[in-house]
């Protein structure tokens, strides 16, 4: 009979406890009672109730205190406060503090049974929701590890053999054959990168970045990102002009992930810019923030696409012909920036170009 729903009633009036016990007789609920808050809390630890009725006015520790303590012990326990008929205001306050419902005294057996049943149902729903959430997280993790093993491993093996083949044939290959190797390697590399960024979105809890925040100069991740993209920029003959105000105050952040933000945004600018144009990267102080803007003279983003570009798995219609992106770079960038308590914005005009702005708060020691 361990699985019976359990109700604990904490009330200093014996007549209340007795009548509740009377009312619940013949119901499937298992009941325990306590005469004051302290013994009620002690009993709670071993009884593990689903639902607790607490009288707000008791000698010793108050019902409010009991409410708070139960919340600390197990926030999934449903609490209903018992109040005198005239004290609706304290019932409201109790509900603000986490009580699920209130039971005004005096009450009829039907009222009590109804509220008890609702409280028990509430607890079941809460536990169910938690179980579902856990299951979802587990599935997500499993999916991530399947993706990495089943997709990345074969691609890595393919790429490694192509590397080896090209290396062994180095002197025998004609320039045309070398170019074909280059194409194969680039496409496989794109695939691997795409899988990595999917994994990033699926498996990594971006909010955990906060644990590794340290003061850093915004110039660092920008410089690393520009260096990282040098090949792409050279291929399209695009000059990345960086204008970073000297003596910018530091921000608090994670260098690796901020580098990823700038790689995604500047990389986008390069991808959508015509050959031979310029991309401007500027960083300046703006009150309590540092603003980094990345401006291109590219194809621009249609007004109807603008609201969606940070959504993930979205690529603008106007960008289709030029895009080789994965549609999630900007979504990742936004998540990272928001984990830094910052914001990201975009302005664009079709055919003229696009400007992304990243705002990050200055580090306050």
């Amino acid at each position: 009979m361990e699985n019976r729903d359990k109700i604990l009633i904490i009330d200093d009036e014996e007549v209340v406890l007795d009548s509740c016990a009377q009312i619940l007789k013949g119901t499937p609920y298992q009941l325990a009672t306590a005469r004051d808050g302290t013994s009620g809390l002690a009993l709670l630890q071993e009884f593990h109730p689903d639902l607790v009725f607490v009288d707000l006015k008791m000698p010793g520790i108050s019902g409010f205190e009991v409410l708070e303590k139960i919340g600390e012990i197990d926030p999934t326990i449903v609490i209903v406060v018992i109040t005198g008929f005239a004290t609706v205001s304290s019932a409201v306050e109790a509900m603000k503090k986490g009580a699920y419902d209130f039971l005004p005294k005096p009450f009829t057996p039907d009222e009590f049974r109804l509220i008890a049943r609702r409280g028990i149902e509430r607890r079941k729903l809460m536990l169910e929701a938690i179980a579902l959430r856990k299951e979802r997280d587990l599935l997500r993790e499993q999916f991530a590890s399947i993706v990495s093993h089943e997709l990345k491993a074969p691609l890595s093996a393919i790429q490694q053999n192509i590397f080896a083949l090209e290396f062994e044939l180095d002197k025998a290959l004609t320039p045309e054959q070398k170019e074909k190797f280059g194409r194969i390697k680039t496409r496989i590399d794109d695939l691997l990168k795409m899988i990595n960024s999917w994994l990033r979105v699926i498996a990594v809890d971006i909010n955990r970045l906060k644990e590794s925040f340290a003061p850093l100069s915004i110039a660092d991740p920008i410089a690393i990102a520009i260096e990282h993209l040098a090949t792409l920029a050279a291929r399209k003959n695009i000059e990345v002009v960086s204008e970073i105000s000297p003596d910018l105050p530091p921000i608090a952040g994670d260098k690796v992930s901020l580098t990823e933000v700038f790689v995604n945004i500047i990389g986008n600018a390069l991808k959508y810019s015509p050959d031979g144009t310029k991309v401007h990267v500027r960083a300046r102080q703006d009150g309590e923030n540092i603003t980094v803007s990345v401006a291109d003279a590219g194809i621009g983003i249609a007004p109807e696409d603008l609201p969606h570009i940070f959504d993930g798995f979205y690529r603008g219609k106007s960008g289709q012909s030029a895009a080789t992106g994965h549609g999630i770079g900007l979504a990742v960038a936004r998540q990272i920036v928001e984990a830094h308590n910052g914001s990201i914005a975009v302005e664009s005009e079709l055919g003229k170009g696009t400007t992304f702005s990243v705002n990050l708060p200055i580090h306050k020691p």
Binding site: S148, K152, A157, A164, F167, E168
Partner: protein
């Protein structure tokens, strides 16, 4: 004298790719396709460098080898090049430690797949670093 390398990795196709590069680079390369054979080989023969995969079998079995090597005074001297497909996940295996875990005296990590030049550079540098360290003792 030709340097002897050992690869421990459970993916034969991947191994074929790196072994070919190392062969061309003039190394003598042995391969073990699971952690058990790998440990046996390490104990049976003297190697100048180990190339170690992390994710093998049912999980991070490569870590197990690294831990065993760390405890063994002789094996600890062998430099290790860790080759992993999961740079991000490795941080979770050593919570609180930086992404580059110090398994043994001399080690480094590269991600799969590895460019030939990078692979050969790393292998050469690690062997030299380990020899320098040994000579200084």
């Amino acid at each position: 004298m030709t340097k002897k390398l050992l690869i421990i990795d459970d993916d034969p196709d991947f191994v074929s790719g790196i072994k070919a590069i190392l062969d061309t680079g003039g190394y003598e390369v042995d391969v073990a396709y699971n952690p058990k054979d790998g440990l046996r080989a390490l104990q049976a023969k003297k190697y100048d460098l180990l190339l170690l995969d992390i994710m093998m079998g049912r999980g991070a079995e490569g870590i197990m080898i690294a831990r065993k090597m760390r405890k063994d005074a002789k094996l600890r001297e062998i430099p290790v090049l860790i080759i992993t497909g999961m740079r991000e996940q490795i941080a979770f295996l050593f919570p609180g430690e930086p992404v580059h875990p110090r398994f043994v005296d001399v080690d480094e990590m590269v991600e799969k797949p590895v460019e030939p030049k990078l692979l050969l550079d790393k292998v050469q540098n690690l062997i030299q670093a380990a020899e320098a360290k040994k000579a200084a003792k």
